[in-house]
Amino acid sequence: MFEYAPAPESRSIVDIKPSYGLFVNGEWVDGENRNKTVNPATEEVLAEVAWATEAEVDSAVGAARTAYEKVWSRTSGRERAKYLYRIARIIQERSRELAVLESIDNGKPIRESRDVDVPLVAAHFFYYAGWADKLGYAGFGPSPRPVGVAGQVIPWNFPLLMLAWKIAPALACGNTVVLKPAETTPLTALLFAEICQEADLPPGVVNIVTGAGDTGHALVSHPGVDKVAFTGSTDVGRAIARAVAGTRKKLTLELGGKAANIVFDDAPIDQAVEGIVNGIFFNQGHVCCAGSRLLVQESVYDEVLASLKRRMALLRVGDPLDKNTDIGAINSAAQLDRIRTLSEIGASEGATQWSPPCSLPDRGFWFAPTIFTGVTQAHRIAREEIFGPVLSVLTFRTPAEAVEKANNTPYGLSAGVWTDKGSRILWMADRLRAGVVWANTFNKFDPTAPFGGYKESGYGREGGRHGLEAYLDV
């Protein structure tokens, strides 16, 4: 047997402080309330972090307002681009540090934070830096104006990447921001604040307020905020939509999903299986656009299932900092509970649960990669977002049935189609009600491609030229 020896990435490159304040107006201020953030792989306490109060959020919004009116809205696009390029380069220079810290705080494997998250973060800043002095050519009029102060609330699944999706276009368009990272994953956003200082970004252009739901509520309902951007659960998204209803605030929401990954009988089976695995087990399944419903054409069901199980048996679950780890830790005890609860419901509703034999660490939050077969549209695990490494397998016979089942969900964030037939890809993409349709691949992201949802997966687009619209007064 080829046993891979442990290959841990060194964590000596990161310097986690015992305690962090809030980043307001280019400076660190102590917060009144403090809470702990833990490493989900070990439950070790990493640092104490401020949970911003309403008054602290108010001062951050005030700083952003001043910076907007006095500095950033008067800075030319070409000058703004210089700052964004500088930030992008510093991210590249400090990429190992950012990747290690992301894996420690979030639980995702270092292979993913190193090869996916951090390179995409840098790419986003580079991409929107390029737009900053070309906004007049983006199709929103000859000289589009920024919106003002953006209040941004991001989730814990891709802490740094979601920060980049929010901050890069906002700054490129001339807005200032107050960003609240998730309470379980604040550390890379705080390191990003240091990067803003290192890049000499004018004070107040980027403000980071850490905290939980109350802090987020204070931010999105603050009257000084002109634009609210949120990525997270559909429930919280609804609450935010209610909070901003009747105000002048612009709003974009990127919410949950229950994507169908559709495998036709003429698909490249080996690559489709890779795509299924990547679709649901990438980032422990903590992906809003995860391919959590597998729809397989009945004629290749046995073959696909056998290949999938063989492939799943190779997944390496464990230490997120080991360079050979494929699946890391579940981000929090609360999320682990939710995954367990929904899995138990899946089993009790009659679906068949299967996981490969794999040993999980004793401490920390872990869930083995799992598939449910014999799932029908009526099962809760086929309808509700689990946000974990749990795949529901369904079958179909005809393309029309695949479309019908894929669209039979309140969500509509993404979908995958696997077939060797180009015309069928286009036929499917026309009919699938999903913001992204991947063909013969899955979970591919690029700063040039707009991303966003239909139906209860939210509205507005992030990324690409389309992503500028949310941050321009148009």
């Binding site: 080829f2 046993e3 020896a5 089976i269 013969n440």
Partner: protein
């Protein structure tokens, strides 16, 4: 069950039409996906004990090769000595799997390898182009076997394959296999000339259906030799072939694998594609010449903690 399955597959070789139906019915290979999978496996980090184990295994899998017009008996004897005992400074270093030479050099090599347990492979069938009449290829093969080769590396007729004359390729492999007698037959697909992964998968199945004991990527004589994704596709083919017929077929990437780092990437791909059953010199080989010295150098580094210069390792 297996016997029935095998005989069902035996019928496929009867005609171009049957072969075409079967080979074109195999699932396609998505180029982007296959290359991504290979690249991802290439990022596996193999350290310390795992690395030591992999290096020794890789040495045992080397088909130490010299296929030059300038080959002489002296050069081949030197190569055979190196194959038996790769590192004169370290008797613990394992011997390689085989020596691979042109048919004219087989008698010299057979003499030099006698009693060593190192296999003797000979390329045959108008290597490397394969552009000769079938009876010449057969005679080439018989001569090599008669002179003492116990492994034959044949080339398929790429022209016939690319123009869809699958039965011609099939029949040729069957005939060469017959001429091999007890010798093992490695079928070189020359994947660099097949151009697509779909073709690599089809040629792999064709070679296995016709009775090849090994499928091999390349002659090393065309610009594109072994690559990681091509080897991945071939490993998927041997895995699926065993599942369908019960017969296990080996895989040999050849050409362009020069460093320990590369060799370990291949072993990771074997491990996570075909599985541990193929991690054995009977089922996986490296066709290489310069690779061996890098493996020995890395082996010494792991053992002693420091690098020795290339002068401490023998040229072939």
């Amino acid at each position: 069950m297996t016997a029935t399955a095998t005989s069902a597959f035996a019928d496929i070789g009867r005609s171009d039409a049957a072969l075409r139906t079967f080979l074109h019915g195999l699932p396609g290979v998505d180029q982007v996906g296959a290359e991504q999978r290979a690249a991802m496996l290439g990022t596996r980090s193999i350290k310390t004990t795992a690395k030591a184990w992999a290096i020794d295994l890789a040495i045992r899998m080397v088909d130490l090769t010299t296929l030059e017009g300038a080959d002489t008996p002296g050069k081949v004897r030197a190569l055979c000595a190196k194959a038996r005992r790769p590192d004169p400074a370290d008797p613990e270093a394992p011997a390689v799997a085989a020596v691979c030479v042109y048919p004219s050099m087989v008698p010299v090599a057979a003499e030099a390898l006698r009693g060593s347990g190192v296999h003797l492979a000979s390329v045959a069938t108008a290597f490397p182009s394969g552009q000769a009449p079938l009876d010449v290829k057969i005679a080439d093969t018989r001569a090599a076997v008669a002179a003492g080769a116990d492994e034959i590396d044949m080339v398929i007729s790429r022209g016939a394959f690319l123009s869809g004359r699958y039965a011609e390729v099939y029949d040729e492999i069957v005939a060469v296999k017959e001429a091999c007698g007890d010798a093992h037959l490695k079928v070189i697909l020359e994947t660099g000339e097949l151009a697509t992964y779909d073709n690599v998968r089809r040629a792999s199945w064709l070679a296995m259906l016709a009775g090849g004991d090994f499928i091999k990527t390349s002659t090393g004589k065309v610009p594109v030799a072994a690559t990681l994704p091509v080897t991945l596709v071939m490993l998927e083919a041997v895995r699926d072939f065993r599942a369908a017929t019960g017969r296990q077929v080996g895989v040999k990437p050849a050409g362009g694998i020069r460093t320990t780092k590369d060799a370990i990437k291949y072993l990771v791909v074997v491990n996570e594609t075909a599985g541990a059953d193929w991690l054995d010199p009977d089922w996986f080989r490296f066709g290489a010449s310069t690779l061996l010295n890098d493996l020995l150098m890395q082996r010494t580094k792991l053992r002693t903690g420091h690098y020795s210069g290339p002068d401490y390792f023998t040229v072939d």
